[in-house]
């Protein structure tokens, strides 16, 4: 670790590649976001007009921002607790934990488009599984046009998003919980802490750094979510389930507003950075070494 030059030189190739495929496009997008440009012919420089329009002249963008924040809240308060409970149960050496681990992880390895198609069938208003089940339970009044009505579309699209990544966060937390040395538990057992008590006072505090990672992933993932919404509702009906990235896509590719769409892209990046910093500040964890 002493040869600083060697470190620099070996980091250089990866750094160059990183700059070319991550930083450079962001810089170029920032430039585009200052243009009035249809993406094909010559653009004209208009300063920060696009950003002003984002916050003063585009109610749909504001709405999409709220939708994504709502999704982030749901992820943190519904998805992560479920993941945590599953991880704790599986880590406490229940029978068949390997089997369950695999089962919960399956949605993560499936393509989102496949899952989207699957849920579209589940939500289908005429012969979807969900409405059929409700019907056979005698709950006809609960039947909905899940993806086709403004009041339910967003919620319906959230379910598969939250569902898919439960297994992912569970695995992160599970691995972290497994790495806690047994002697800590043994000491706790001698002091009389077992079951729920040891989970609450030993496991959860010790996997806090991993919880922080999970929260960041869940929040960032929600803020920039695209694929599920695109497949399930395409932002509709009447923009009820619009999120910033689908609205950005719509502006760039359907309305030829390349400059304006780029401004949205930059806003999404800034938003993600902001939330990452906030979450890190909130956790402020000390490093734990065993």
């Amino acid at each position: 670790m002493r040869d600083k030059k060697a470190i620099m030189i070996f980091v250089l190739p990866a750094f160059i590649v990183y700059c070319l495929i991550v930083l450079l496009p962001i810089l170029i997008s920032t430039y585009y976001s200052l243009l009035d440009w249809n993406g094909i012919s010559q653009g004209t420089f208009i300063g920060i007009q696009n950003y002003i329009k984002l916050f003063t002249g585009d109610p749909i963008f504001i709405k999409s921002l709220w939708n994504s924040i709502l999704l982030a809240v749901l992820s943190v308060f519904i998805q992560l607790p479920i993941s945590l409970i599953l991880a704790l149960v599986l880590a406490s050496k229940v029978k068949g934990s390997r089997f369950y681990r695999t089962v919960y992880f399956i949605p993560v390895v499936m393509s989102t488009v496949v899952i989207g198609q699957l849920w579209m069938k589940i939500y289908h208003p005429s012969f979807g599984l969900l409405n059929d089940v409700l019907g056979s339970l005698g709950l006809d009044a609960w039947k909905r046009e899940w993806l086709g009505s403004e009041s339910t579309a967003l919620g319906a699209a959230f379910v598969p998003i939250v569902w898919q990544y439960i297994g992912y966060h569970m695995l992160l937390m599970f691995a972290s919980a497994k790495s806690i040395p047994d002697d800590i538990y043994e000491a706790a057992r001698i002091d009389g802490a077992t079951g729920l008590k040891s989970a609450l006072h030993i496991t959860i505090p010790l996997i806090k750094p991993m919880l922080q990672v999970s929260v960041i992933f869940a929040v960032i993932g929600s803020l920039k979510t695209f694929d599920f919404i695109y497949v399930l509702t395409n932002g509709g009906p009447v923009h009820a389930s619009e999120v910033p990235s689908t609205w950005m896509f719509n502006n760039i590719f359907n309305q030829y507003l390349y400059g304006y769409g780029s401004a949205m892209a930059i806003m999404i990046i800034l938003e993600c950075l902001l939330f990452t910093v906030i979450i890190q500040k909130m956790f402020k964890t000390e490093q734990i070494t065993y």
Binding site: P13, I40, G236, N254, Q255
Partner: protein, 427 residues
């Protein structure tokens, strides 16, 4: 010495990565001197796409007969094709010949100079051999950029079996349509299919109602920015569409269904009515169709008390192939373009993919899709054709129009607000 080794290692690492990226390019163009390779992009990727079989056959024929000009087709399915050509146009990397849409869609391409103007190539009689007016959508600033190969019209598909089985009369005008809608609802049948998630299928219903209310001339004039969209006929069309929606005319949950999903229900024989492009006819008459031979294709019901006749259609010639101004083989590309579009017109009609746009009559009428043959007869006397509005208007305006129709259908705006918002496009 140690330091030198490190630098060498770093440089090597960087360059091996860079080399991976460009190694492929050199080998591709090696035999170009003898054979001219032309790439064609299409959006017909699966065997279910109606023009897939015709274009495969035409290209195979060409390649067999022209050893010096070889064609290669690359297909990308669905909406992503639009994204692909827009991206390629922005990067100036369009292929030699590519499928695209006319009117508003390709206008930015033409304005940016990425397309090859065809005017000087078409004076060999080509202009007289295509349907009159069919080049209009591919002409920007007096330059022609594309050739037509298929004509489509908005078609009202009616499942006669369902109508007969329920003792309901096929509607000839709007009032009867409303009656039929209510009658089907009472029997627990979804009356009309539409895929509202894709926005344009529901827009078709508004655009044809506007045509019925105002007539072709007035509609075209309004689209050009002449007549105001606040004209009573457009308000009335919006009111009628909302009236249909509020009578539950459209299938349950239609706002959440894509066109494919909604069409599948109609094709399975569970929905009696469907208004969409004539291209649907192919699937409905295919051997795997559950309603083969039970469907009638006709124009949208009339609105009594208006000037619009049954000879006015929504539709047009909008699918086309264009040539990139970047192509190294301009003459050959145009030659292929003519061959391709003329043969697609014939082959496409033969297999029932669409109505022909080239005046060639070497078609065996008996083998034609009966729905299309019927439509050709019905449209022979056409007095006016109005393009679907999203085709005529450009990107942002088209998107706005489609979203306004969606808002009408979900009762978020009144017909008057709709008209006012539409007129904002023209101001």
């Amino acid at each position: 010495m140690k330091r030198l080794g490190l630098i060498a290692a770093a440089v090597l690492l960087t360059f091996t990565l860079a080399a991976c990226g460009s190694a492929n390019k050199a080998s591709e163009g090696s035999n170009e001197a003898a054979v001219k390779n032309l790439t064609i992009w299409t959006t017909w990727a699966s065997d279910g796409d109606t023009f897939k079989a015709p274009i495969d056959k035409i290209v195979a024929d060409w390649n067999a007969n022209n050893p010096t000009i070889q064609l290669k087709v690359e297909a990308t399915a669905g909406e992503s094709y639009k994204t692909k050509i827009k991206t390629a146009a922005a990067a100036n990397e369009l292929p030699d010949i590519f499928f695209t849409w006319g009117a508003g869609f390709s206008k930015p391409f033409a304005e940016s100079g990425t397309l090859l103007p065809l005017n000087e190539y078409l004076n060999d009689g080509t202009k007289d051999r295509v349907l009159a007016g069919s080049l209009e959508n591919f002409t920007y600033d007096d330059n022609i950029y594309g050739l037509p190969f298929t004509l489509y019209v908005g078609t009202f598909f009616v499942n006669e079996e369902l109508f007969d089985a329920n003792g309901i009369a096929v509607p000839a005008n709007y009032e009867e349509l409303l009656t039929a809608v209510k009658a089907f609802r009472e029997k627990g049948i979804n009356p009309i299919a539409v895929g509202g998630k894709d926005l344009w299928p529901s827009m078709f219903y508004y655009d044809v109602l506007a045509l019925r209310e105002g007539g072709a001339d007035l509609n075209l004039d309004a689209l050009k920015g002449g007549t105001s969209f606040e004209d009573p006929v457009f308000v009335e069309a919006a009111r009628k569409l909302q009236e249909l929606a509020n009578a539950d005319a459209f299938a349950d949950g239609f706002m959440g269904l894509s066109r494919d999903e909604s069409e599948a229900v109609f094709a399975s024989g569970q929905i009696p009515m469907y208004y969409n492009g004539s291209w649907v006819a192919t699937a409905l008459e295919s051997d795997s169709s559950a309603i083969k031979g039970k469907v009638k294709a006709m124009n949208f019901p009339l609105v009594s008390g208006t000037t619009s006749s049954g000879d006015e259609w929504l539709g047009g010639v909008n699918d086309t192939f264009m040539v990139s101004s970047n192509t190294p083989h301009k003459d050959e590309a145009v030659q292929v373009l003519k061959y391709l579009t003329e043969n697609l017109s014939n082959e496409g009609y033969q297999v029932g993919a669409g109505l022909p746009t080239w005046k060639t009559t070497e078609v065996d009428e008996s083998k034609i899709n009966p729905l299309l043959a019927d439509l050709v007869k019905q449209t022979e006397s056409a007095t006016g054709i109005v393009p679907p509005w999203d085709i005529y208007l450009e990107g942002q305006d088209a998107e706005k129009h489609k979203n306004l129709v969606a808002q009408l259908l979900t009762n978020n705006i009144t017909p008057e607000q709709f008209a006012k918002e539409m007129q904002a496009i023209n101001e």
